[in-house]
Structures are given as structure tokens and as C-alpha cells.
Chain length 405, copies 2
Amino acid sequence: MDALDIVMNKQNVTAYLQPIISTDRQEITGYEVLGRYQDEERSISLRPFFQDKTIPEEYRREIEEQIHHQALTSFLDGNRTEHIFLNVDVDLILTDGGEHFFEKLSSYKDYGLSFSRLVLECKEHDFEGDVSRLKHFIQYVQSMGIRIALDDLGKTSTPLDEIAYLNPDIVKVDLEFLADQSFPEMYREALHSLSVLSGKIGASLLFENIKEFNQLHFAWKHGARYFQGSYLGRPDLSFLDKMTFAETLRKHFNDFLFFEKKKIEAQIELTDTLAKRLERVVKDKQNPDDIDDLTLHIADELKDLSFRVYLCNYEGFQQSGNAFLDEDGMWQYQFEEKNRNWSWRPYFLENIVRMNIEKKGILSDLYTDIHKEERIRTYSYPINENLYVFVDIPYSYLFEKDFLL
Amino acid sequence: MDALDIVMNKQNVTAYLQPIISTDRQEITGYEVLGRYQDEERSISLRPFFQDKTIPEEYRREIEEQIHHQALTSFLDGNRTEHIFLNVDVDLILTDGGEHFFEKLSSYKDYGLSFSRLVLECKEHDFEGDVSRLKHFIQYVQSMGIRIALDDLGKTSTPLDEIAYLNPDIVKVDLEFLADQSFPEMYREALHSLSVLSGKIGASLLFENIKEFNQLHFAWKHGARYFQGSYLGRPDLSFLDKMTFAETLRKHFNDFLFFEKKKIEAQIELTDTLAKRLERVVKDKQNPDDIDDLTLHIADELKDLSFRVYLCNYEGFQQSGNAFLDEDGMWQYQFEEKNRNWSWRPYFLENIVRMNIEKKGILSDLYTDIHKEERIRTYSYPINENLYVFVDIPYSYLFEKDFLL
């Protein structure tokens, strides 16, 4: 519909509120303010209006201010104690250096608004200026005690180093893509990396567009501090009781906990099983005369759950070749792999030192094997202080066992 | 200098070769081909020529082909067994759908070139078409047995999900920024995430622009499978002996190993120390009547190395408030923190299950505390099957001990 219709009929513009729920309390901790236009019998999202940069700035600013005003007035009249998340267009704000926007925002302090309850949502990908200018804006806002949420991550691609550079208080990740079950595993890996990075830089993760159970599970599993989406609360005209979703979430958490415990217990059980088997296999062989022979012996004894076996010393240099299970189920011995150094691989060295001190084996996380292009785990075990065996476990074995994938 | 000068003086265009060294063998495993223009007494990089899209495509294609031809001819004449990395402009190649380029490349097969030795280096950020078109190009190239390296990551910002989507064989990360010691820690975190992601999707990491020791150390520590840079080999006109850098690298690896072992040993030592102290502190208190009292008791006993202490149950719900050390060194007790759920935090639940089964404490990695904005570690310890204490260790303590940061 036409932008002019909206500006000429401002009375039809309404602020909707979508609840944001905290994971640690399971209570509503804030509301995102969303603009809607009432057109006869339906309510139209104003998001396209704000994203259309061909619409004059004055129009967009006027409507944005009205929406913010409606929401802030409701918030203050109701003596709300939650946070209020306002969507802002930083390009729009900075046309005059930000003076008008902050002046207007500060005027609400006279009516009881505390800046510590305000969160401004910025979309980095929409920002047309230089990223360092956005950085300065964010720092200025944070210095006023207002928090910043970096919006729409997951839906658009924002590099991790830019997120780290901008250093927002909240990282908003859009889970819309996760509704499609066929989506590649690799995107999940990328999102997992985003989750880990957020934890490292001290930003809180907010997962939005949660429309179904599996998205809620994904968010919880990947360190979401806040949840948002129609599976919980839809945008509406009024505020809700803080505890509206608490019981539902607690039930879900119990389900998630049960499942995750099963996975961790399965890993520990497999570790124990493998420890017993390796202990038996290498008994009386702690100082082998023939390392190649020992490698093949171990491989034979673990044929049911392994496709590759090799031995390394304390420095990570391979002392054996690779025992590699071929497609006919025969062990091939690749002598040329001897003397490779693996100390540069993530966690490799740490695992060797731990095995040396704790005298027990370690099961790795899932990762993609470069040669097999499938997800595997590696079990490593100390034979003596300077000899460690590495057993690569194929996807087919992990798939057959419960909870190991 | 002028583009026309280059095209009119093609005889001055020369292919230079920069060695790429593998971490696992410490030997030269490939060469990147770089174009240079000999101008009287100096040799000028042709990189700006290729990056300038205002220069006619025909000019750029002609010079690119000459450089590739020189390098491939040298490679084949010398019966080289390494990989050869050719820089390509995918926009340029796809102007005719790729027909001319692949026809020309295939002609070298008649002279003994194996496609398994070829790596094409693409710069994703330079590609002007739709990313799915680049994806199809990459898949087609890989189907021919040629490998793809995604270039210039680290120098430019490429989102992780795009890297995962494009699924290159090699991820080339530029370490030029790391020469500046003052660079924010957060970029290192972002780069670490890139390293972990590469491992997960099965791509090999190549760190380039390694000019000094600390960059080599960083690359090794973050899972580099390949090294490239003037600290090792500079671009030159000829091939080198495969083992040219092996001894130097092995010495460096020994240095890195020593340092990393010290760090891991320090973590294990601290874990043991804390286990002994907690064992003593909670002795006879495994089933406390007053959880708040126990929390403060533990806090008092660990005042020298802690700033926050709290207790959680098996499901991750906080059973105590927070004992929090204020700026005057007094423990404050924050009752309002009781009942928070932490099961969503990365590794939290896994650690609880492990503690329950293994009956011992766990020291976390370094991470940034949201409230203190500093890097901390958390030590967790089982009091009984349904009660776990979490001790947050401040940066000041970690800084004073060797190897804990």
C-alpha cells in the first residue's frame, strides 16, 4: 500500500508489543515494539514501510516517532518494569548527528522513563554509512545506559568480526530458516559459532521467530538468554503477566534436559566401554617392539566401531602409519602417514596432556572428517607416557547407537 | 602505472611462486602463483591490476592467462609434485559461462597436468554476481577434481554461514591484522570461531601473510593445516626443496608445544587445588539445612580467588542467591538471584552430568563475564547428586598465576 496513505492516516498507526522471555527466569523480561497499520479489517506490518529507503525520511521519522510515543506512553502509564525494545533506523537518526532523536528520547525521562529499561534494535546490514560510524553511535548509546541489540542476524549474513567489533549488549538471531528441516547442517554450525562467540564477548543471545518446538530446543541448546516468537507470545496491543509463559517453558526445559542428559550419558558410557576394551587390547603391550604391528592389532580388535587407527607420541607426531578400513572391510596399512604432526589440530594437544595426567581416554565432539566427508568422533587413549592411540569412529556406528549424534 | 603499459609489454610479466607449507609434514606442499611486472629495476605486484574492474576484461584475462601459462609450464617442465594455487577472477571466467577457461585448463592435461594438483583461489568478496552462482561454480570445479580455496578471509569480512554454504576445500585466512599487537581480543575470538567452523565443515585452514613468530604461533594454535608468508618463504622465481623449512618449523613446534603444555598443566593443577579446598570446605555439609549459609561459608573460604559463588541443582536451577564480592572486599548476598535457570548456557548442563558421574570438579575455559566485562573462569564442584557449587574466578587472580590466561 501507499506510503502517503500511511502518513495521511496516522491515526491508524498502532504500536504492537511482542513479549521477550528470559531463559533464566522464564518470565517476560521485555517487549519489542512493532508498528502496524489498521486497514479496515486487517492489521498490516509497517516493516516494509520502514525498510523502503525511497520513502522520504521525514515520512519514516514521523511514523517511527508516533509508534515509539504510543509504546513509551503505554509503558509509563502502566508503570511497567520490563525492558522496551525500540526498532531504530540509525541512518535516519544520524542525519542531524542524532540530536533530535536523543532530545526526544530524553524528554520521556521527565515522565519516569529509565534508560536502563531501553533497548535500541539496530540492523547492521541496513546501515549505509561506514561501520565505524555505527560503532560510535553504539558506544554513545551505551554510555547513556541504553542497551543495544544487533538485529536480524541469521536472516542476513553479518561477519563475526563485525559483531565483535560493534560489541552489542544483545545479539538477535533470527531462526526463521530453521523451520525448514532440510536446511544444511553447516548453517547450524555457523549459528553455533555465533552462539559461542556471543558468550565470549559477553553479549546475550536472543533468538527470535521461534514458531515451533524444535526452534525453541535449538535456541535453548545454543545458549539463548532470551526467547521471542509466536510459539510463545504473538504481537498484541497489551502487556501480559510476567509469568504467562513460565510453566510452559519449565516443562519444555525438563524435556530438553532429559534429552541432553541422555546424550551426555551416552558419550560417557561409550568412553567407559572403549576404555575397558583398549585396556584389554593393549595389556602387556605398553612398550611395543613393533608399533605398526600394534596398530593393526588394535584395529582388528576394534573393527566393529572404527575405520581408522593410528598412534602418536606426546608431541603429536604420528609414530605409526594409518590402519584404514577399506570398502571391502579389510584393513589397509598406509605407511606414508607416519611422522605427520597433529599438534595443531584443535584440542589435540590438550587431550594428550590430559590423558598423560589422568591416565584415561577421551571421546571427542562430533566433527566432519576431511576425507570421508561425514561426521565422526575420535576416541584417544594413553598406551604409555609417550604413546597414544587414536580411533576414528564412523557415522554408521554412531547412528546405530542412541544419542551419540 | 598504466594498464596499457602492462598489456603492451607482456614480456615483462612474470609468474612468481610463494611456497605453502603443510603443518603435518612441515614440507612445501604447494605454491601460490603471483603475477609481477618487471619495471626497470623493480618488480611490481599485479594484484592492483587484477582488482581494478575499470580495466577492460580482455586485458585482465590476457595477463591472467599468461601468468597461469608461465607457472603451469614451469610446473610441468620440472615434473613438480606439489599443488599449484592459481588466483582466478570468477566474474571474468563466467562471462562466457566458463567455457574458455576450462577448455584452456584442460589443454594442460595433454602435457601431464593432474587436476588433483590444482587449487583455484577465489575471493568471495570480489564476486559481483549472486552467491548461489559462485556456489555452482565451486561445485562444478570440485566435481572436476580441482580444489577451491576461499581467499582473503580475515582481511575482509565474510560471514560464517556463507563460508559454510560455499563449502570450500581450503579457507585462506589473512593474518596481516595480527601484526598490530594492540588489535582487540574480539577479533581473535572471531578468528577462533572461523577456525573451529572450518574444522567442523571439513575445510582445511591456510593462514597467509605470516611475517613474524607470533603470527606463526597464532596459526598453529588455531588449527592451521597450511602456512604461507614471508616469515617462511617469500615469492620467488623458482621452486624450492620440499624440506627447506622442515627443521625450522619443527623447532618452532617444540616451542609452541612447551608453552601450550604449561597452560594445560596449569589448568589441571588449579583444578586439583580447588578440588582439595572444596572437599575440605564442604566436608560434613553434603546435605545442608541452610543453602544460603553454606554458600556464604564457601565464599568466605575461597575469598582469595573468587568474586561470585552460587549453588545449582541437577536441572540447572539456582538454589542459592549469589554471594558477590563488592569493591570493598565484602561479600554481599543477592537473594534475588535464587531460582534462575542456567541450563541453557554452553557446557553448563554437560558439566553437571559429568560431575555427577565422575564425582569431581571442572574448570571452565576463559570467557567474558557479562557483568564484569572481564575474562574469567568458573570452577564447578559437586556437593551431592543434586547440588553443585559454581565459583567464578576473577581476571586478577588468573593474571597473577602463570599460564592461566
